[in-house]
């Protein structure tokens, strides 16, 4: 992450080459031609910046890879994540199983590949849910103000006050006690629900403070003076200007949720068999870490890389959208 204005404010070094360039000739020579003639918007500017950052391309590359793995796992492995033969139990990495085999003889590589789907699907869905719910409530609270704001903020505080891991365990345990043997989608849905329920207040606060700040802005006052209706103001003026922090937050949130799902699975309350996810694998590998460290290693590596990519992308997007770094 490079900061274009590095260097200390507090010293002014002596002139570069005193005495040079005493001419009074036109000043034009050698300037780069103006890059573009018509102005881009903030998003256009951001994209322009984003395109030139290696951080963006690296993270985007990884993310694309992970999305492909999640969507088309069969492209990356011909093996099966759930069929295994006990004869291969805990075998190390080799030519047939690149990442080795777990206690049940299942191919770790296949499981890691198929596990991407659950992890990423849960993370992306939960992010969408959180941002939509939180964003909506935040806009309403910020825009209406008064008792509506007070009420919605208190409700958000109630959910905000629940410690995350604790709350997730309680929710998941209450709604899906272990061993209930429900189907894959129900389990994933419950995890998504838990994540959204516990995190939407944060999205709400971000949106609300953006809206509060934007509401005071002159361009909103001007729009109102010209007779714009509330809906128009919200959709055409407020939301586009409040998108930036929410966008950054969502990107990072996907990464955080991948980690959160893994943590919950590790604790035994998140996804469970027969669902395959990186968290489930890490959880299962706990006891065998000394004899089969690769069982822990590979899912962890994928997990960390996935989270890292999203966090990096979020950073790149934040820098690109930050008007102060212009």
């Amino acid at each position: 992450m490079s900061d274009p204005t590095s260097g200390s404010l507090v010293t002014t070094p002596p002139p570069e080459q005193p005495g040079i360039v005493a001419d009074t000739a036109p000043v034009d020579a050698g300037l780069p031609k103006a890059k573009r003639d018509k102005p881009r918007g903030l998003l256009g500017d951001a994209w322009y910046d984003l395109r030139r950052k290696p951080l963006f391309w690296i993270s985007a590359g990884f993310i694309t890879l992970f999305v492909l793995i999640a969507a088309f796992p069969f492209l990356f492995t011909s093996g099966s994540p759930t069929s295994g033969s006990l004869s291969r139990s805990l075998e190390g990495p080799g030519s047939s199983g690149w990442f080795g085999y777990d206690i049940q003889g299942q191919d770790i590589y296949s499981r890691v590949i198929y596990g991407a789907r659950a992890s990423i699907l849960v993370a992306v869905s939960a992010t969408l849910g959180t941002v939509l719910l939180g964003g909506l409530v935040g806009v309403i609270a910020g825009f209406r103000g008064g008792w509506v704001d007070a009420l919605l903020s208190r409700i958000a505080d109630v959910f905000f006050g629940i410690p995350f891991v604790l709350g997730a365990i309680v929710i998941l345990f209450s709604l899906n006690p272990r061993g209930a043997g429900s189907n894959e989608w129900k389990i994933m849905g419950l995890v998504i629900l838990a994540l959204v329920m516990l995190t939407w207040p944060v999205a709400m606060r971000i949106m609300r403070s953006s809206v509060l700040a934007a509401k005071q802005a002159d361009y909103v006052v001007a729009a109102r003076a010209m007779g714009a209706s509330n809906t128009r103001i919200i959709f055409k003026h407020l939301i586009p200007n409040c998108l930036a922090p929410v966008l950054v937050y969502s990107t990072i949130l996907v990464g955080a949720y991948i980690g959160a799902e893994a943590t919950l699975s590790f604790l035994g309350v998140g996804l469970q068999s027969p669902v395959v996810s990186w968290g489930v694998m890490i959880s299962d590998s706990q006891q065998y870490i000394r004899v089969a460290p690769y069982w822990l290693l590979f899912p962890s590596a994928f997990l960390v890389t996935a989270v890292l990519s999203f966090v990096m992308l979020g950073e790149a997007v934040r820098e690109a959208l930050d008007p102060k770094l212009r």
Binding site: P163, L166, S174, P177, A262, I282, V304
Partner: protein, 308 residues
């Protein structure tokens, strides 16, 4: 200032009741027989069931249950586990360990995070800056349980310089590595937040004025710049303490620390609903109070807030 405090206290009360009610409902509305598995292998005797049902008003509608429960709570009676242990005893034994862990974590987070943040905020784009940026990125991305696991394995089992698990009375020295694990994500965040805050404030007008006054750079940075830049960081540290105290379940589990996180996890899994609610109530209360303290701290640090 007084009005500000009063207003915040008033806001706190409905939130406290709202959160505890929510948790109560979630915990007690678990489908199935609340007495399953409580009395060992056999089903519980009827007399016992009747006694417990009366005691916790399990036959009444939920809001009524809740009111009775809170009533007891506010007089200090947390009730008992299904096995007869005093819940307040469980809490008072386990909580100090969690507190110790949280404090160790906060100290580590503050020291390392602030140092890294200040150094890189002042001198960006150097080797140190890139090092810090990359390492914080990694720390942010590694979930607690992974880092906990790894450190426990590498330091405790492979190299063996620490105990893989923490002993029963949880001395501070043994809590250093668990504290580090607990605080690792926050530490990265503190470093970045400090760095950004310092970088932004370096360009502000009042710093320019301080330089124009001819003050030595040490003072411009150490007094004027830091005093302003650290406000968001200090308030974050305050809220994080509240979060650390409530979120150590994973760390306590991995390092076998007898803290409140372990107790609550155990209680959830064995359906000791009263224990769960009791512990959560305490945690929520602590969290809300911490938030209030942080708000006061913020007002103390930034005079512009005081006179709203």
């Amino acid at each position: 200032m007084g009005r500000y405090v009063l207003r915040r206290l008033l806001q706190l009360i409905p939130v406290f009741f709202g959160t505890t009610l929510l948790i109560y409902w979630l915990v007690w509305s678990v489908p199935g027989d609340p007495f399953a598995g409580k009395c060992g292998e056999r089903a519980c005797p009827d007399s016992y069931i009747q006694f417990m049902t009366e005691k916790y008003h399990l036959d009444d509608p939920l809001p009524v249950q809740y009111i009775y429960y809170m009533g007891h709570l506010l007089t200090g009676d947390f009730g008992q586990t299904f096995g007869g242990r005093d819940i307040s005893e469980i809490i008072s034994q386990a909580y100090p360990n969690t507190l110790k862990l949280a404090l160790v974590g906060l100290t580590i987070e503050a020291i390392i995070g602030l140092t890294a943040g200040i150094l890189t905020g002042l001198r960006r784009n150097g080797f140190l800056d890139n090092l810090v940026l990359v390492s914080t990125l990694f720390l942010l991305a590694i979930p607690t349980f992974v880092s906990g696991f790894l450190l426990q394995f590498i330091l405790g089992v492979q190299i063996g310089i620490i105990n893989p698990t923490v002993s029963a009375d949880a001395p501070f020295s043994e809590l250093i590595v668990p504290g580090f694990v607990l605080a690792s994500v926050s530490m990265a965040y503190v470093a970045r937040l400090t760095r950004t805050s310092i970088a932004e404030n370096s360009r502000s007008d009042y710093v320019r004025t301080a330089v124009a006054k001819g003050l030595p750079q040490r003072r411009v940075v150490g007094v004027h710049l830091l005093r302003n830049s650290l406000i968001p960081v200090i308030t974050f540290l305050g809220t994080d303490l509240g979060a650390l105290m409530g979120g150590a379940i994973v760390t306590e589990g991995i390092f076998s620390i007898n803290g409140i996180g372990r107790e609550v996890y155990r209680a959830i899994v064995t359906k000791e609903s009263a224990t769960v609610v009791g512990i959560v109530v305490v945690l929520v209360m602590v969290y809300l109070l911490m938030n209030l303290l942080v708000d006061l701290l913020y007002a103390a640090l930034d005079p512009r807030i005081r006179y709203e």
